[in-house]
Amino acid sequence: MKSAWQSLAGLLSGLGRATLFLFQLLAATPHALARPRILIRQLYMVGTLSLVIIVVSGSFVGMVLALQGYRTLSGFGATASLGIFVAFTVVRELGPVVTALLFAGRAGSALAAEIGLMRATDQLSGMEMMAVDPLRYVVAPRFLAGFIAMPLLTAIFSVMAIGVAGGYLIGVSLLGVDPGAFWSQIHANMHPLDIWQSMFKALVFGAVITWIAVYQGYHAAPNSEGVSSATTTTVVASSLAVLGLDFILTAFMFR
């Protein structure tokens, strides 16, 4: 009974500490804008280096959706709707969510490990001793970079999945759907609001993933075990947060 109470208290204190950390982080974020060099370096780390995995997985997700959608739609003689089927699935759900899960695995884990190792090797304490705020120089640029990179990665993922190599390649080139019907169905049914809602989801996911990653790294136990557990917790917690938040956002936005 007592241990259950203690673990509940531990959970609540962790949540409270993470929230306070978020406020400190938001206060430090404007300072990251004043140092574009550091920000660009972090954008390279979380954005450019994630391009390959996003492009490849976007293409394959689009291909699979087109194959499965074609099978289902051909039962109704509605294969002309393949384009809008793939586009709605990707733009509304799979684009932001799969990008966020990949982003958590690719960039979130790296962020947590990097900052955790800085903590373990006393680099953060060293900065504090030199009166340099590590939140401003180390954490805030990484947070901002994740916030900027996620919508861009989501847009690239969606374009790859719908048009370039995914749904269009399989649907039109392989399965013989009419390209005019493919695009005209998308044009007739997709509203620009769908795109902006997708980008909003991506922004929220990007902020949550990088928040969890930098929090876990910053508060990691200063040893090798602490770094490894921070990395694992980052991927697990941010994946769960993304899936849960996606449900809430979908329930609010697509009524």
């Binding site: 660009i40 450019t48 109704f76 003689g77 861009l152 690239i156 997709m190 620009p192 769908d194 997708s198």
Partner: protein, 169 residues
């Protein structure tokens, strides 16, 4: 030098992302219904609009020329008033044209189909289409079909059945 290469790569990434957002907004989504400014409005009264909704297409000979902007009820006649916005390049629709509510495919969305008449006068902004045909409601059609079957059945069984009917009392 190393930082310059970094900047170029990040610039490439940002360009790619912004281009993808633009492609999604302008190539994937339809932008013709956010312009809003152009075009003129027509209305048509229907006794039943089925599942027509604002944003549905208005087509002439199968070509999309506008969209449904509003649906309301006429308080006197209890008919549905459908307002449509037609793009400006289709100014010369004859004023005796007919509007039908049609379905794209068997399970598809409903849209308004216009059938041009032969009049020399064109419909003006705010004009009303007089000849309309309501949505195809499957239940009504099945109901009529069944009523027809029952009537036909009672007629055909009526003449031989007429003999035993008076015999019962």
């Amino acid at each position: 030098m190393q930082s310059r290469a970094l900047e170029i790569l990040v610039g490439f990434f940002v360009c790619l992302g912004v281009a993808a957002i633009f492609v999604l907004t302008f190539r994937v989504a339809s932008t013709d219904n956010i312009g809003g400014g152009g075009g003129y409005t027509l209305t048509a009264d229907f006794s039943n609009i089925g599942s027509l909704s604002p944003g549905a297409s208005v087509k002439l000979a199968g070509v999309r020329i506008g969209s449904v902007t509003g649906i309301s009820i006429d308080p006197k006649t209890f008919q549905a008033v459908v307002a449509m916005r037609i793009s400006d390049q289709h100014r010369d629709i004859p004023d005796d044209s007919a509007a039908k509510i049609l379905t794209a495919g068997l399970l598809g969305e409903q849209y308004v189909g216009l059938e041009p008449g032969g009049s020399l006068d064109a419909l003006k902004d705010g004009g009303r289409i007089q000849f309309t045909q309501s949505a195809f409601v499957l239940e009504n059609v099945i109901g009529q079909f069944l009523t027809g079957m029952v009537q036909k059945g009672s007629q055909s069984s009526g003449s031989p059945g007429a003999a035993p009917a008076p015999a019962t009392p």
